[in-house]
Amino acid sequence: MTKPGLHVHRALMLCATIALLFAALVYTVYAANLIAFPYDYDQGEGFEVQDTALLSQFRLPYLDTETYPFYSSNYPPLFHMLAAPFVWFFGPAYWYGRLLGYAASLLISVVIAQAVYRDGHQNRWIALLAGLAFLSSNFVYHIGPLFRQNIMVVAFEALAVVLLARAFPRGDRRGIVLALFCLLCAGYTRQLAAITALAAFIWMFLRGPRRALLCAFGFGLAGGLVFLWLNLTSGGQWWTQAIVANVNDFLYDQAVGLFRLWFGLHGFLLVPAALLVMVELYADRLSIYSIWFLATAGLGGISAGTWGAGDSYLVPSIAAACILSGIFFSRMLANAWRPSRLLQALPLARIASLSLLLVPALYLGYARATLKMPTTGEFAAVAALLGVEKNVSFHTRQDEPGFYDSATWMAGGYARIGYLLTEADHAAGAQIVARIEQTDKPVLSEDAGFSIAAGRDVVTNPTQLRNLYLAGQFAGDELVRMIEYQEFGLIILRAQFFPPHILEAMGQAYVHSETIFMNGFDYLLLFPRPAYEPRVAS
């Protein structure tokens, strides 16, 4: 490559770096905005706060949902255990869980960069871009700064995979044990980590079948003992609440929609990642990254089609794609391929020269494909400069914040979040809490945050009750009785995920008399219907 060619390469690399740093800046602004918000942003966050509060009192959150407060968690406990010490100092709150999520996403970014640097011919610049590319993903942006286990599990998975990549081929026992420990932590952070565990053991089996079987035995034993302990300690509720209740219907259109979106947004990195998989399959050895990528893209993508699932299920595949594409680009630039008859047939030197322009161009294309940003306030000038306008809308209010999301909000399962919260959202949350404080009776709220802020019991977990009901594990007689006898001073609904007979009882015994708009959603406030005669015996 000529000197002017190198100059163009560096200029393009600089542009790609600036573009991806801008994405990281938007992500940080979004995280800071969410951390300051004391109520639910994504549906279900409040229940994870409640799980953390219970664990901080050394109580498991896997409870019998037939008795008051009809609450149970459906997630493994590790993420909430990590957040539990904060409860001792600050009480139940959202900010530290969101901060942990944000920190976990940064850790993944660093782990990706380290893997690309180590396994991709020590190209610092590509390693940096690969790490930033992860933070630029719309899916990561969505789930990173939430009080949810979605991103923490990917952090444990990424750590496990990157540690294993080096430790297993070298027979480094300490490294292998540490990696398997991370994998176990991932499994007890979120059940979905089973896919990464499967990928890791497949790869270990390819590299050393006997050692892989030994590792699988030890891992299975440790994981099984924890499972057994949780089930015994919770009186069998762990099995019912975290396993049985997590089996949901498969929605084909949702799976296909999310797959298309995943490819549309990340295609600039997915194609190079897939090419490296092909190279490894036919002209080199399969790396753990390739198996991780294939497993999490295939099985994770299919899992994303289940009811209640979403784009977060594909985040591990994005981490794998960032690593694979980074290594692929580094090898192309260095023209450093394992000697192979298949590769020798290709004009590798010419490809290396071409890649000086192609690689930064692909990162630039990726930055544009994953662009999401506020279009008002401090970002208005940048939005105008980039020629982007608000393209997503809540439809129900005029003063909504302007937000551009290249993903749009068309695919089912893609969470309609990402915009910045305003003072109006804070005020609306305080208004709902004020309504709770007006009654002395228990309050049944579909989002736990209001009850937590008012210092009241968290009553029910609607999606959990729905899932248990569909699995034939929830009758809800006591809950229906309490609703019929108007023992709740107020019912707050958002998505109305409760089982049909619970919603029907609410509709009979309570009357909807106020709607408060917060955070893109209408919160329906239901008060006891005057002169109502209960339809069930006390």
């Binding site: 390819l206 590299r207 079948p209 006997r210 084909y252 799976a255 036919y282 050895r285 295939g298």
Partner: protein, 91 residues
Amino acid sequence: MVILGRQRFTVWAAESILRGMDAESAGITKRQLGLLLLVGGLVGFCAILAVDIVDVGREGGIGPAQTVALIAMALAALVGLSLLPLGDAPA
């Protein structure tokens, strides 16, 4: 004749895979991986088709999810087939 051929194939496949497991440090070869994918893909393909035969009460025939699974299994078998000529190179 067909049965004998199938037995020979099974013995050859089992020996190929077990040989890889016996080795202390050597991993699975491309040929062994190819075999695993080929056999897995074919068995999976037949099993998915068999869902309709076993569960005769099902309505609607082969659904979209089943079609995707069939394509995935066929693809796995084809990839497996393409790996067979690569011999003892490590997978």
